[in-house]
Symmetry: C2
Subunit: 247 residues, 2 copies
Amino acid sequence: MRNIKILIEYDGTNYKGWQIQSNAKSVQGELTKALRSLIGSKVTLTGAGRTDSGVHAMGQVANFRTESEISARKFMEGLNGTLPKDIRILHSIEVEEDFHSRRDALERQYHYKVIKRESALARFYAYGPGYDLSLQDMVTAAKIIKANTDFSSFCNTRSETENKKCKIRKSEWRENGDYMYYTIAADRFIYNMVRSLVGTMIEVGRGKITVEQFEEIFDKSDRSAAGPNAPAHGLYLEKVVYAENFN
Amino acid sequence: MRNIKILIEYDGTNYKGWQIQSNAKSVQGELTKALRSLIGSKVTLTGAGRTDSGVHAMGQVANFRTESEISARKFMEGLNGTLPKDIRILHSIEVEEDFHSRRDALERQYHYKVIKRESALARFYAYGPGYDLSLQDMVTAAKIIKANTDFSSFCNTRSETENKKCKIRKSEWRENGDYMYYTIAADRFIYNMVRSLVGTMIEVGRGKITVEQFEEIFDKSDRSAAGPNAPAHGLYLEKVVYAENFN
């Protein structure tokens, strides 16, 4: 069996997230449908990250096994010919047979876009909280995140049985004109963790939670101690990192 | 009569352009409707630039006269409460009674976004020609535009009776990652001129027209000598400049 790895960009606005569902439009569902029509038989598609409803991706990675003789590059062209315009394949290559896009991921990177004013053009692509935020306090909060490893207080109750430890490799805010960007990279993420971290940092930025209180949330291991989830439409799965032999 | 000036950002994707029309959704139409509901009587809204169907704006300027006692700032808040989310008022102030957003504009600035790859997220916000472009040749073409004043070869036949002279104050391409940005500022623009200039520069960039041929198009005063119009969705009305007393 050949194993094909694809790099995917999508606009999550019109999808109920990555994961295939019976009654709702999903990115994985659209891709599976397009693959079936291209290859002529059913294909199982594995994705690196399960993005929520409304979350975007510029670097989602997925893989599928097939007996098809279509060249790796032609998968990109063929899929882009069939897929809706809000899902695009940016790259497709053949990889080793044992490659698994989720299990082999060494690191995932997300970013979150905040806009500091009303915006028509960014309404689906950045979150506008509508109040002033202190970048300095949010930068400090981002450093606190990097220094921690237990994210029990920042994960949805839906993920209660999971391992709550993550190695954070990057956690930083930067400002550019009317936008504030948060970038976070880690070996793994827990369900809803990034939106919960960003939502709580925004509470810090607007002065509802002090930097000290933010630090204490980590020790409480209690989701209700943190702030609300930031809205999905500001979040992007930016890239997934693998060992060199899988690139 | 008070005279209120508003600064408007809009996503042109779902509108048949700025100008009010009886059978199609327009930005001016939505604004007029929102103003009527806010003020309670009919208002005539004048815009600085008539953008085409699908063209965006982050700096459209308009003005209207009213007897209403609503404070200038409250016009922004009130309109944003009523308008669809793809039209936002960024600023509203009271100006001198004789201010006219179109006639008093000293300079308008547009920019055009080209993306060098397939993109799901930019599909309504940048044009992807799908072939390699030489930035260097396009930079030269942009300089030629700045050196010219007669744009007869770059205006739609619909504008035949108009004055075809424009003073170009800025005309430049820059590249940033996967994007190429063209910025043009002038005292005035002729109908379809920016899209015609960009479409022709793209022909230069892909090698269909040489820089020398591009220069010769100006002397021909013939629209058919130029390239096709670049698609509307890459174009943005960026700002409109007025004399200081109108700001």
